[in-house]
Symmetry: D2
């Protein structure tokens, strides 16, 4: 029986990393997991520094991820890590994930899944055949009111979906920040670290994932137009995509890093033949249900009338705001709950299994590839192919 | 010298008309104009009924617009109307406008300008050669904070414009209301009264006009996709248009009548290389200025720090909300102020001249035609041609 | 039969008046009334100037209100005014109102009713015995969603009312504006024109009126504390009042002119044993219903599900914002509709009779007097006496 | 040197506890502290159950707090706890805190400090003489934008403070929930566990603490009125308090548990002679600065222009919402950072020392006592005495 916290070994997340710290907070806040080992940076001194800040046993702070995987898998079962958490830039996703799975570890991987669609396909198969748990951290699907939105649509409250609007406005790359010693800007705008797309790969994929997740639909065709707005950039920093879904619904996805002054207000609006719903991340604890013939309703996180899917992803009562870190932690908690259930030989609740995985990763990479293909085409519509 | 209210003769606006009543409130609230004559309906009894409700002299309630124009122009100058206000469905815009101009009257016309682009071109020339004042009631440009937005962009506060988002979400046609004895739904979804487009013609043109008006830019290319969502309709009830502007900026315009539960929240967001701005019609007295490196600012109608363009279009101090009718009335008031100035042999203030006219009408009709052409094309981009 | 617009003679409202212009827009926007005569200022030249701006017949612009009343009442019935509208500072309310009633005119009077409670009592009796229509323009009761709020409470939707919060925050007197050539600030802070209270008399009375109107309750006891914040003032510019209502409910009323940066966001929140409601003037087209065990609902002006009381006070469909001027105009329109019904020998709809009158005026003046008495007392509670 | 996580022993927080779980998330999310021991319930089986859920060594799950304190203090220094965290109902605050301090442990205590003011005074002295760190978890002072508000006022941005409004509206006790097997409702409405006040003690103290914390002022006089709204209750469930501050400013504090439908929207508004500020907990990442003569500004958490006090209490970039748990965690993190600095022989940053402590606790208890005294008095003002 498992009567212990799940042990994490982290790859990436050294000094200056934004997302590494978020993963650690998300992993530990519920007391189900703890970081015990890491290869935090390709620079051994930086890796050591982060290990020290995390009070790790220095012997478990490694110079690189190969070391981490090799040495940890040879530790006694009671000591060695259970899960590898990978938070490196995109070009260092595929290799450590494949190796971690082969070393017998479960994996939590920051999105996007890989550097190229081809890698993603290979990894998808590797995950499926590994028998290991795999989570791709599409954070925004972890919000309680996003769970409620999905649940309401599944129950048919909106009727057949007709229209989906999803937008991801950011403004932080309004100027050429990548020349100003900003690590986040540097790697994201660098095709060698980020891949073939910056804006669509970084945030467009979140918007795409959210749209498919909440609506329960899949994109079948798209018409994309990308822009490079700030002079001297080589990757897109802005774009718009018209969408057709597999049920005949239509949609529009926009993503931008040059909406000057905008922060991070990922927003989704879905309209069906009976009702509509609207949610935005910067006011994440509310979900507005829109009715054609009665007052709109404001569903609120932490209340007594929500679905089990929302409830299993909530920690506080109504009016005590949860936020981004809790949404992130919901991915980790569901992953851990699933792990504990399986270890105990039980079926996990279906609500716990609802965390993003290999399929989301593969479709996300396909989204980027299809968007780029459409952008280069002078034909209006490009079929969505995986 | 003109020491009298401007006299209006109204064409259309009989029982069941929504926009006729709005025009009358807009015309009269500032005490500069009054309705003294009308041909309110093609049904003489209905016309008579409206005339009575307006306390009109029965001799000036006419059976049709030809009558109105013929008889009024032969009245003594001190009695006869000065302005013809036309609020009929779209297919009855061109003819009465042309005739009113020929009869020597100024004209205020509800949008869109005409039924077809060809009519619009003819009318455009007629207006220009008539020497008469002409206003096309693109209401939404009348809001004080839209005036402020335009003014801020003109002053360069946002820097070069990079991106324009404009959306016009409505939900009222979520079901087949046109079969339920709803006059508004009936004529708008009927190609014989509405023209070649319903949604894009009715509200897409407002969004288009607002985007060009506020940004000071012109659309150069577009990529449109229209939908007929509710079974049995023949005209579009939803659509999206990607835009390129003449300065290199990009944009997205969406308009829908099937966003179930949505009311009328026309919204515009514009981002430049220095700052962004955001405005929405359902919260029309606020304008949000977004900055990359300092707190966003909320500009508010009726305050002391606004531009003269905003001030000339405001009636109440801050915190006393103005709304749709006041925005509409701003068009009328500017029209009247221009009239009075010209009659007095003075130059009107440039703020008064800032009401929509023939150029707006022509570009609006071209927008509809170009959108329809793009929608039928499988090429991504269609050049915007007038 | 009355087949004509109601004719208004206005007292006050000359150059520099804020509220005079508002009254005129409110009176004329629905086409039921028109201003035909006036004594706009104690300065005849200023009066003449306003008359000219309104295109009035110079013979009906009077040097003072005695003149106006005397001469108008002697005009032929078809020509003379029907209604006197009084928009002078508070110390010139009583006398012209009494005389107007005696002259046989209906009266619309800006609030507060009089300069002193004693005057108010006398005027109350005079109104009651006159048989004339009387409206006191407590604007804020004219908003459609305030009508809806009242209606919901009357229907018992909230259950027994337990708690009422009403606040009226303004910031415009944050500095000593009255020494800066600001006419509005001058008369309101001057005890000779304003009366014994500035803040509580000017805006506290609106808050008080709104609380009693919406809740359907009456204040029975109060505990007041007033402040003079800006040095050199002699009247209150800020205050708070604890309230007990006649059904056992409790409340808090706050009013301030020194909430620096605040505009005019009169706000009311009422909680009953079943539900709560919240409304604020700066977002006047929404009313939030709060439920203990299901999602809050947002009632919206112009929708199809509202009460007849709200519907009779609306002009535009949902999403076309109405505002302060329309709320004001609702008082005028209901007044006019009542007039026309009575003239036609019919019972006015009860929704039309729902405009503020003598009782509101009397209780408002009593409120001021009781607040001042409580403020000077060191006892906690003062009974509310009229 | 301390190169380890701080070890916590928790008293209270067993099954059914809301706040115990919150404390644990707050303590562990930053990786600086961990719960290693506990006496979670007076019921040993329940205590054991919670210990198991937390993966604790069973030998460190104790039957009662005396046991915990006795046994832990005798463990080797490298093993034993460093901090005692006390999350029991109010009547079990004093004794374990005193004993924990005497046992040489630092203490984090849930508010209010004690059951009575007398206990609070004794405890205050005990804390001061103990030389131990003490934190009283007034959560709401932990929000980044509350830190910013305090900072702006300290810098004089608002000028001299004139007016403070603080309100704490809840609706959860709208009905007699304490008879419905709701543990939270039961102990809070029970004078034997809660003390002499329910509403004012539970949430009024938060409002009071926030007002003094942000404004930098102290209440000098108050005028309170409390209500017992739901039949059968013995303690207050609603109340209002007029305030005078030591600089001459005035204020109003309201707290209620019967604002049906309200959640937890603690709100503070402060107006000075130059500007105002407004913050509400349910939109905690924004702070509105209000100006009399320029546009309001929206300060946002995680941006680059904030004070060091705000920055030291933030984890995510702008637009990635932080919430209640992060605010709570800020108290813990500052406590831990202070601890580490002191252990290292360094001066803690002043931003880290900014967590609520003994003084806050003492004034909170005095607030309750003074409010009750005022409530029973028929005199308007009661001086605030500690």
């Amino acid at each position: 029986m498992v009567n212990k916290k799940l042990k994490i070994g982290m790859i990436g997340g050294g000094p200056g990393s934004f997302i590494g710290a978020i993963h650690r907070m998300a992993a530990t806040m519920d007391g189900l997991m703890e970081v015990v080992a890491g290869a935090f940076s390709s620079n051994p001194e930086k890796s050591r520094q982060t290990g020290e800040e995390l009070f790790l046993d220095p012997s478990r702070v490694y110079a690189n991820y190969d070391d981490l995987l090799d040495k940890e898998k040879n530790l006694p079962e009671s000591e060695r890590i259970d899960v590898v958490c990978i938070v490196t830039p995109n070009h260092v996703h595929f290799d450590p994930t494949i190796k971690a799975l082969k070393s017998g570890f479960h994996v939590i991987l920051d999105k996007p899944m890989t550097f190229t669609l081809e890698e993603a396909k290979t990894l998808y198969d590797a995950i499926k055949s590994s028998g290991k748990l795999f989570c791709l951290t599409h954070t925004y699907t972890g919000y309680p009111m996003i769970k409620e939105a999905k649940s309401l649509i599944e129950k048919g409250v909106l009727g057949k979906i007709r229209k989906v609007y999803v937008e991801y406005p950011q403004g932080w790359l309004w100027k050429k920040l990548e020349t100003e010693d900003n690590k986040q800007a540097q790697w994201r705008t660098d095709p060698n670290q980020s891949g073939s797309s910056n804006c669509m790969g970084d945030i467009g994929t979140h918007a795409f994932n959210l749209a498919e997740y909440v609506s329960g639909l899949q994109v079948s065709h798209l018409c994309a137009h990308l822009n490079i707005t700030v002079e001297g950039r080589v990757l897109d920093d802005d774009g718009a995509v018209l969408l057709k879904f597999n049920n005949g619904a239509h949609g529009i996805l926009t993503a931008s890093q040059i909406n000057t002054g905008a922060e991070n207000n990922l927003k989704i609006r879905i309209y069906g033949e009976k009702a509509g719903l609207e949610w935005e991340q910067e006011d994440n604890n509310s979900l507005r249900l829109r009715w054609p013939d009665k007052p709109d309703e404001i569903y609120r996180a932490g209340t007594g009338y929500l679905s089990s899917l929302a409830n299993e992803n909530t920690r506080t009562p109504a009016g005590h705001p949860e936020g981004y870190i809790e949404a992130f932690a919901n991915l980790y908690r569901n992953f851990a709950r699933t792990y504990y259930a399986l270890e105990a030989g039980k079926d996990p609740k279906k609500e716990w299994l609802d965390f993003p995985g290999a399929e989301d990763g593969l479709r996300g990479m396909a989204f980027v590839k299809n968007v780029l293909a459409s952008n280069q085409s002078d034909k209006k519509w490009t079929p969505f192919e995986v």
